[in-house]
């Protein structure tokens, strides 16, 4: 009796063996799910409610990393403030730096805002460039391809499934992008300011100019001197929209809005960070709607 139970349990685990995929952020995780389908179990490590630079390194993340077969990271320094000690303490050689099971998506993305020189005197500048590329819906396909290639390397048995999933997803997404780009052609917002340089990839894609940030330097809280400069810039350049992310304080943005008549647009930075942004389509649609309204 005992033996048969053990055997069925063993058998069950063998039959339903899924690839454990951990993704540091929810947009990456959602794309991994599209490509992996039923062959993967996707776990998101960082909550999209909070600042992606400073995810709380809860010990529960260690047990998630311990069992991962593939860890997908955003890279370009975004996880530098929380992931390295977790990786060292998770004792999982599969996802160690240099192993096949660590996929750094930033290695596949053409980086923008790459600084010529870096110093922390300029605030929290990433030497590799701006890491917030997931706000651009066109980069979704680059991410999907990178994930497909790596999943095939790790789980050759299901290569066919991953290839088919990528083809289907690509078709669907290209169609979505066509409509999305057409909608963005109609978007009246052409000048913005933002809190942090979170949306540069999106803005560059659709030729929207960012005239400054609410934080004086990346990672530094607003100062009154800088806020006055920004108010003057908004007035001079006739900027109509202030892009506010969900995790920074919102007081400064509203203060600036009061002084200038610009509108504060709450923009999600990651899938699920606002209500009804739980799918890739709804996430990018929300960015568009809140920006262009």
């Amino acid at each position: 009796m005992k033996k048969t139970i053990l055997l069925t349990v063993l058998l069950a685990t063998v039959i339903f063996a899924q690839v454990n995929v951990d993704a540091t952020y929810s947009t990456l995780g959602a794309i991994a799910k599209k490509i992996g389908g039923d062959n993967v179990k996707v776990t998101i490590l960082g909550s999209s409610k909070y600042d992606p630079h400073f995810i709380v390194p809860k010990p529960s993340l260690l047990s998630k990393l311990r069992r991962a077969d593939l860890l997908i990271i955003n890279g370009a320094g975004l996880e530098l403030g929380w992931l390295p000690p977790l990786l060292r303490n998770a004792n999982n050689p599969k996802i160690r730096n240099g192993a096949n099971g660590l996929l750094d998506i930033s290695h596949f993305v053409p980086m923008i805002d790459v600084p010529a020189t870096v110093s922390r005197a300029f605030g929290d500048v990433h030497s590799q460039g701006n890491p917030h590329y997931t706000t651009d819906p066109h980069i979704v396909l680059i991410i999907a391809r990178a994930i497909e290639k790596r999943l095939i390397e790790i789980d050759l048995d299901n290569a066919k499934a991953y290839q088919t999933n990528l083809i289907n997803f690509t078709k669907k997404w290209q169609k979505y992008l066509k409509k999305y780009d057409a909608d963005m052609q109609m978007c009246k917002t052409k000048k913005v300011v933002q809190y942090h340089q979170l949306f540069n990839y999106f803005l560059e894609r659709y030729n929207i100019k960012s005239y400054g940030t609410i934080e004086p330097l990346p990672g530094i809280s607003p100062s009154s001197k800088h806020t006055i400069w920004l108010i003057n810039t908004i007035k001079d350049e006739k900027v109509k929209v202030i892009l506010q992310d969900i995790y920074h304080e919102k007081r400064t943005a509203h203060f600036i809005a009061d002084k200038t008549g610009a509108r504060v647009a709450l923009i999600p930075h990651d899938l699920g960070s606002l209500k009804d942004t739980g799918t890739l389509e709804s996430f990018y649609n929300t960015i568009k709607e809140h920006l262009c309204r």
Binding site: K58, S60, S63, G81, P84, A90, P93, R96, S221
Partner: protein, 404 residues
Amino acid sequence: MKKSTLLSLLVVSSVFADAKLDLLQKQLNKQQMQIYALETKNTNQSASFSQNAYLPAIALILNMSAVARDVNNTAYEDLSIPGFIDYNPTNKNSKAELPFNKSRGFNLNYAEVAMHSAVDPYFDAFAIFHLHPHEFEIEEAYVQTRSLPYALRIKAGKFKSNFGRMNFKHQHSWHFDAQPIIYKALFGPDAISDAGIQLQWIAPTDTYIMTGIEALQGTNERSFGDKEINNLYVSYLKSSIDIGEDLSILGGISLAHGKNLTTHTTDVYGVDLTMREQLGAYSSLIWQSEYLQRNKKIDETTNKQGGFYTELIYRINRNYYCGVHYDAITKNDIDLQRYSANHINTDNLNRYLVKIDYKPFSMSRLRLSYSYDRTKVIAGERKNINTVMLSLNIAAGAHGAHNY
């Protein structure tokens, strides 16, 4: 005549042809050089034998303070914590070690140089050097495996033990600049930090369960210190659960078993509990507590001593933190006759701390703290010490993130 004309013409044309060929040859050479230059454009241009790309990550940490205290510096150096640190003027070794914020006035506590690097696919190496004004100290220097199977990891070298909650943390990452009294009393400022070997394992469960064992030299003379052979063994079990997305709880039990200077057994038991509630992107509440008890056998008697600390840290926003901390010695079953004979009260040994941190950026921290310390006997009298301190800590360079 005709012949000679023809000949001269031939000669001329051949001379001209040669000149043309030369020109072509030159052009060809030039193009070949250009092709070669293009072909080698993306090849290695670095200095031969350069290994600069493999340099370890290096961080510099500076810790300094300005202190106001109602005890003068000479008297403070001769402090006692009854039953734990018993200062005896005839014995230099009975002095408390006070590496941090000892002096009224200004202190440069240390310049810490921390380095880490992957050695090869199999090992990571770490070294943390503490440079005190008149002393160089290897705080930690160890290697750690990268690729053991079954979620196992071995660490070897000199390192801070994973005993309890606070033991492995470096001074600059403590919530308060002052060490919890029970740690200071049982182990001194470096806590359990020794040469040895550590094995840790994480269970393949949804709930975080980690266990580890360590064999250490046991040089800490406050609790251990038998010199004849390595004498200290530490083991622990830690577990953590999340309640919802924002509340995480970490608990642990620890045991350190060693031999003390009298070659008898010392056992230290520890339990710890940390709860952390995330209130917002830059706001959180942390409640951390720990109880330690030591059973130290000397000759025929076993002295049982213990105490706890509990602290509450509130991160207000991106830049400000505040916190309160309480320490108490709750068990002190040891011969305290030297104090009672001089009518010194040794009950109610406890301490209160409050602080405010201002962090303009994640790499720098200014901390204002007040301490009311009721654990000390100074110059033959129980003395309640008031301390106000402003400390500055910076981490420059490749300083990595901290653990939970």
